[in-house]
């Protein structure tokens, strides 16, 4: 589906750049999801997508629609708002749950005597 909106050249360039940039940032974050070693480290990675990556694409979208409809289209801000407000909720809850689960595992490993020396202690 190779197609694109009918934008003036300046807008097309900005929109294209922003979209590509946003996608690249998001991809970087997702690559982090793969490459980082522990859950806690990985939990940082998606925030790239939910901040800069998303912002670039949203700005591109707002610009694109504003030009197309010849009036300011601002409702992209809603997405930014919602994502920013809800992502922390999930991350917070998930990270805390992971902490609990890892702690339990650690306790169990201690009880069984199978815990390796090098493992970092988790906060209680």
């Amino acid at each position: 589906m190779i197609q694109a909106p009918d934008l003036p050249a300046w807008a097309a360039i900005i929109v294209g750049t922003l979209v590509l940039l946003g996608a690249a940032i998001t991809l970087t974050g997702s690559v982090g999801l793969l490459r980082l070693g522990t859950f806690y480290q990985r939990a940082h990675a998606p925030t790239l997508g939910t901040t800069a990556g998303m912002a670039c694409i949203l700005v591109a979208s707002a610009l694109c629609f504003s030009v197309l409809q010849a009036r300011p289209v601002l409702h992209e801000i809603l997405i930014a708002l919602f994502v920013t407000a809800t992502t922390p909720v999930t991350l917070m809850l998930l990270a805390r749950a992971a902490l609990y689960r890892d702690r339990e595992e650690q306790v169990a490993a201690e009880a069984a005597g199978t815990r390796k020396k090098g493992d970092t202690d988790l906060p209680a």
């Binding site: 940032i25 690559v31 940082h44 990675a45 790239l48 901040t51 800069a52 809603l78 922390p88 906060p123």
Partner: protein
């Protein structure tokens, strides 16, 4: 904030939300929006939320700018770590951040800022100890980070919410 009349700020925000959804400023939408906002606000007040008081001050734009800048910087930092730092171990770890702020809305805002900033992750708030556990991806100087957060964010947030 009484249960009968929800906070006017809230209603205003909801009307604005309605208008944004509909992308319209027509009086009709304003009217319907107000109606909808009243219904929605009534719903919220049934949940008996904690009272919210926002002090309008220069702290708000300042905080916004700081957060934006920090987020951009952190994005770059984390991207660099993800893309280029292949060798382990990385110095990630937990820090315990003591807090002075008690207002829940302020804390929530802080949680959003910290979590939205790549590289830091709000993990657990302990109301008894009044401290928060934060995971930091690239932990170089623990104390510096604590000071940074307290100075850059907490103070401004306390200005706004307390």
């Amino acid at each position: 904030m009484s249960r009968r009349l929800p906070h006017p700020w809230l209603i205003a925000a909801l009307v604005l939300l309605w208008l944004l959804f509909n992308q319209s400023l027509s009086p009709g939408h304003l009217l319907i929006g107000t109606l909808v906002a009243l219904i929605a606000a009534k719903g919220l007040s049934a949940l008996r939320p904690l009272p919210l008081r926002i002090r309008l001050s220069s702290a708000i734009p300042r905080l916004a700018v700081i957060v934006l800048v920090d987020i951009v910087r952190s994005n770059l930092a984390v991207a660099r770590i993800v893309l280029f730092q292949t060798t382990r171990p990385r110095a990630s770890g937990f820090i315990n951040l003591p807090l002075d702020m008690r207002n829940r809305y302020g804390l929530a805002m802080l949680a959003i800022i910290i979590t939205a900033t790549p590289g830091t992750l709000w993990m657990r708030y302990d109301p008894a100890q009044r401290s928060v556990l934060i995971h930091v991806l690239d932990l170089i100087d623990e104390d510096a980070l604590i000071t940074l957060i307290k100075n850059r964010y907490e103070r401004l947030l306390m200005d706004i919410f307390e």
